[in-house]
Symmetry: C2
Subunit: 418 residues, 2 copies
Amino acid sequence: MGEPGSYVELDQEGVRRHLAARPALAARLGGAPGDWAVREVSDGNLNSVFLVEGQAGGLCVKQSLPHVRVDPAWKLPLDRAFFEAAYMRAVAPHVGSAAPALLDYEPALFCLVMESLTPHVILRRGLIERAEYPRMASDVGAYVARACFATSGLARRFEAVMDDIALFARNQTLTRITVDLVFTDPYRIAPRNRWTAPLLDTVAADIRGDTALKQAAARMGERFLGRPQALLHGDLHSGSVMVTAEETRIIDGEFALMGPIGFDLGLFVANLLLSLFSQPGHDEAGAATYQAWIAAQIETVWTVFDREFRRLWNAASANAAGDVMPSALLAGEGSRNAMQESWMADIHDDMLGFAGMEMIRRILGFAHVLDLESIGSDDTRAACELQALAFARRLLVERSASGGIGALLRQRAGRLPS
Amino acid sequence: MGEPGSYVELDQEGVRRHLAARPALAARLGGAPGDWAVREVSDGNLNSVFLVEGQAGGLCVKQSLPHVRVDPAWKLPLDRAFFEAAYMRAVAPHVGSAAPALLDYEPALFCLVMESLTPHVILRRGLIERAEYPRMASDVGAYVARACFATSGLARRFEAVMDDIALFARNQTLTRITVDLVFTDPYRIAPRNRWTAPLLDTVAADIRGDTALKQAAARMGERFLGRPQALLHGDLHSGSVMVTAEETRIIDGEFALMGPIGFDLGLFVANLLLSLFSQPGHDEAGAATYQAWIAAQIETVWTVFDREFRRLWNAASANAAGDVMPSALLAGEGSRNAMQESWMADIHDDMLGFAGMEMIRRILGFAHVLDLESIGSDDTRAACELQALAFARRLLVERSASGGIGALLRQRAGRLPS
């Protein structure tokens, strides 16, 4: 997956030399390398990110670091850039402009060069500012449908699916993070857990003692690890989506693995829900209106995903490409429709369960979300978090009798208790 | 997986030299290499097999051939010996004497050397002769429980499971055989299909037109490819089991893959059922008695598997080894028991469905079984096969309302229609 011996950490001048040595990239920037503006914009924990501007255009350079960015003593393997590049290459033919173009990957440096996204902003920040993005929900729903359908056994011979299973089964460092932080730690005493204490101490203890909830969580964990339906982004929260009013781009696929399709949907929906429940904590005026907008977006993510996934399945049935649900066994539209109903119900069920787990871990686990963290008052934040946790519990424990995401949203308690 | 450039097909003298060059193996045989008796006993389609006898003991030598044994023009990749060796090494620590010891694997020659099994006979032949093996059913049930539990995420960290998923995802040539011959061909017009014609022409056409049956088959195919629960043998029919009255040995793991546990159980149970339904075709006198013995063995395979799998799970929970159903989420015996019930019901359901598909493909597909093929009269064989097909259809379509394998066996029509 690269030659670690030749790895060096790129600084601003290193990035400039790296791009100058690659004529196709240099041509995209235009002008002389000395005139390029190189700006470090790293804000995750695991990578260096640079934006480079030339007179003809811009590029984004992302390099894996051998340690947590803010703590050189916490070592990490470098190979996540390899998996991010592999994910981008696998989905690019299917998702159109919803993914930025991968222009170069240098294995020795674990370094990706992508098109620069301007003036896009990170969706999470846009949601905190109560901006509305008319295309976001349908773009993300269609993206998941296209990326997942194309990489599933519905569209491909099993040999191609197993090749991807074998490849992404090596992405174990980041998968371990998900297994521990999403599927285990919030349900036990764990050193990395934190929450709005002491206000949430009781609910955290309740969750650790909630047998039905923990059984549901155990089943979701089994599905995450044991159901390689399609190639997943693996970390599709609102920080992995960049938006303008007209465009949506999905970034940061380094957690990619073969898994259940509902996981990508569930993570995204959960982060919209976390934003929804955070709204009254920022400014009561207008909160309900923006919450209604978010709720509508959540429904749109699902309905567009559902429609696009079925459309792709119907179109693919003509050429009988996949070994899963092969046309030979599902001849006739009626038979295919019956199987589609069953698949979509299953993915919807997974989406709700994974969404519940993502919400819980963002409030009681290690990694929190700015939507809630940026609420200054502990009392206000805790009130929002309690509502989110109650909703998350319903997603996990009551989802099969819930009537689906639309019904759950209509029943939600959406405002601060008065 | 070996160096194909240095591959040579071993003949009897080649086998002698191969063993003579390996002191530990030569010592097991004893005496001078020139005195060893080397006998070719190949009877499968894919490999050469030799039994070697020395004054101190015997060995079995198995080598992959680059072509179908009876047709040098039908080329095959050699790597199945690599996967058989990998399977044997993975399960050996867990299954005791139920697997023959792998003594040597030579990657360049794709050649395994194992302990020789004497006086064991192939179970399928024993069943045709109506021999009773008191330990067979419980030994096979316990073998599947031990091999599958130990290689599942219940017993291991997900990293170890994913390493095996990545490894066995490369066993694609033999998996393709299963996908085509078991999961697809019998349900469509396919050149390799054959059956007792014209007597079964109608039922074969009925099955190709049976929407409910084909939907059930499509679901089982999806589970086979999409549920890497544990490391499977992958071809556990009655020709892969060698028996005496006291001992049972499982051989021929070259189809190994990570898959649903019920697949191994289903294949084995299906082959017992095929023998059961074949009995009246051989000799009416005594057929019913032997059928009752086989039916009891089928129940024993399941009950011993179920008991042993739960025992292993309970024992493992103390040290919390697995990332699937982790102890942190299932603290307390009640919670673990509830999850075990759900797991065992699921595996039982898979077992019935896969058994139905195995029975159908052995009657309407490419590879048939000697139990039925050795019935000389087409009329008699077809009568047995029709009963087996009717039972197989129930396994696939009615299994969830069936009351389980015991109830199905008690309701079976067991004799030739008079």
